[in-house]
Subunit: 269 residues, 2 copies
Amino acid sequence: MSGLHPFDAAIALQPLREGEAQGHTSPAYANFIGPYGGITAAQAVRAVLRDPRLLGETIALTVNYAAALADGPFIARTRPARTNRSTQHWIVELMQGEDTVVTATVMTAARRETWSGHEAGMPDVPRPADVPRTPRQGVAWLNRYDMRFLTGFVPRKWEGQGDAESLTRLWLRDEPLRPLDFAALTAMADTFFPRIWLRRAKQTPVGTVTMTVYFHADGAQLAATGTQYLLAQARGQGFRNGYFDHAGQLWNEQGDLLATTHQVVYFKE
Amino acid sequence: MSGLHPFDAAIALQPLREGEAQGHTSPAYANFIGPYGGITAAQAVRAVLRDPRLLGETIALTVNYAAALADGPFIARTRPARTNRSTQHWIVELMQGEDTVVTATVMTAARRETWSGHEAGMPDVPRPADVPRTPRQGVAWLNRYDMRFLTGFVPRKWEGQGDAESLTRLWLRDEPLRPLDFAALTAMADTFFPRIWLRRAKQTPVGTVTMTVYFHADGAQLAATGTQYLLAQARGQGFRNGYFDHAGQLWNEQGDLLATTHQVVYFKE
C-alpha cells in the first residue's frame, strides 16, 4: 500500500465475511499509547461505509473508546440493526481477539433537499494563509495534520496556572493534502488536545471515552471542500470528578458548518 | 403500580433473564405518535442501571431512535460489551417482536474526587418562583412537567416567519414532584421542542433520530438537587437537508451543571 495516502492506508479494511472486516492500527497515526482516537473513529465509520448493505450517507456517529487498542490487527464488526426506507442504524464493534475495544453507533440516511440555514456561524478569524503553521512535536499523528492555531494552543509552561476558559480555534488540513470525505472529517473532529490541559496547565493523564460527530455536510459538499483548511473550534463545558466534556464545530473556508462534535474525556488529577 | 409516580411506572422493567427485561410504553408520557422520546431514553438508561452486572454510575448515553415505538410492550436487551476496573461500556437495544426500535450505548464509571470547575455557566435568569408556569396543551407528556419558559417558547403564530436564532431557556421539574435521578435527568434532556419550529415558525414534521447526554453530576448530587427546578437551555447549530442538531445544558437552581446534551432531529419541509 506504499502508493496510498497514509490516511487511506490507515483506514483500509479487508472484508472477511458479511459484517466483518479486518483492519490494522497505523504507526503513521500513533499517539502516546496506541493509536490516535480520531483514526480509530475513522476506521469505525469506514467499516460502515464499505459495508455493501449501506443505505445513504453518514448523519451521526458515536464512538466509545472501551479500552486501549493494542498496536496490531483488529476486526470491525458491523450490523445494520435497523433499516428503514431512507435511514439506517448501525451497531459497530472493533474487536481484538475476544475483547471489544471500541463500540459505536452510526446513523446513515438518504438526504433530501430542504430549507437549510446554519446558526452556529464561523467566528471572524484571519485566513489560513495569514496564520503561520504551528510547530508541533511529539507523537506521529501530529505530523499528519497542518495545524495553524489562532487561539488556545497547548500551554507553553506547565505551571498549574491555567486559563479561566478552554477555547481553542485552529485551521487544519491533512498532511499531505487529501480531499475531504466522511472518514477524514471524523478523524479531524478528534484533533483537539484535552481541554483540561488549558484549564489547569498540568499534563494530567487523559483519555477520550466517547465522541459524537454530527455531519451537516453531505458527500458532495465534502468533495467540493476538497483540500481546503477547516476551522476547528472547541470549548470545555463541565469538568467534574474525573470526567469533562467539550463541544466543537468544524467549518470549511467559506464558513459552511460541516460538522459539530462533542466528547467526554477521562482525567486523573 | 397505582401507588407509583407516573415516571416510575413508565420506566418499570420486569427482569426476564440475564440481559433482558420487559417494559411497556406509558400512556402518561404519550407524544403525538408513540411515546415521548425522553421516556424512551430513560427506559434505556434504566435497563442498564437495573442490570445486576452494573459498575458505577452513568457518565454518557447515546440513544438512537431507529423506528417509531408502537404502544405496547418491548424487550430491553443490555450487554456490557466491555468491563474495565472502573469503567463499563454497554450496548442496549429495545426490541418489539423481532425488530430493533432503539439502539443505545451507555458508559458507566466509578468516579473519584478530582479538581472540578464548570465552564458552561448558568445564564443570569429570574428565579423559578418569579416566572409564571407556562400553559401547554396537547399531548400527555407535556402534563408530566412544570415548565416555565424564559425565552424561546413555541411560536404563537405559525406564519412561516421564524426567528434568526433558536435559543430556548426554561425552568422545569417533574409534575407531580419527584426527586431527581439519572433516569429523570435523561428524560428532561429531551424536553426541547424542535428548534426548526423556532427558526421557521412552521409546524413541519419532525422526529429525533439520536440524542446524547453527558452526566456531569453523580448520584449524590442528583439526590441533593431533589425536587428543585432545572434550568434547561438549547440552541440549534446546523440545519441542512432534512436534519438539524441542537446543543443543550441543564443546571440546578444553585447553578451546578448537571448535564450537557445534543441531538439530531429529522425534519421535512
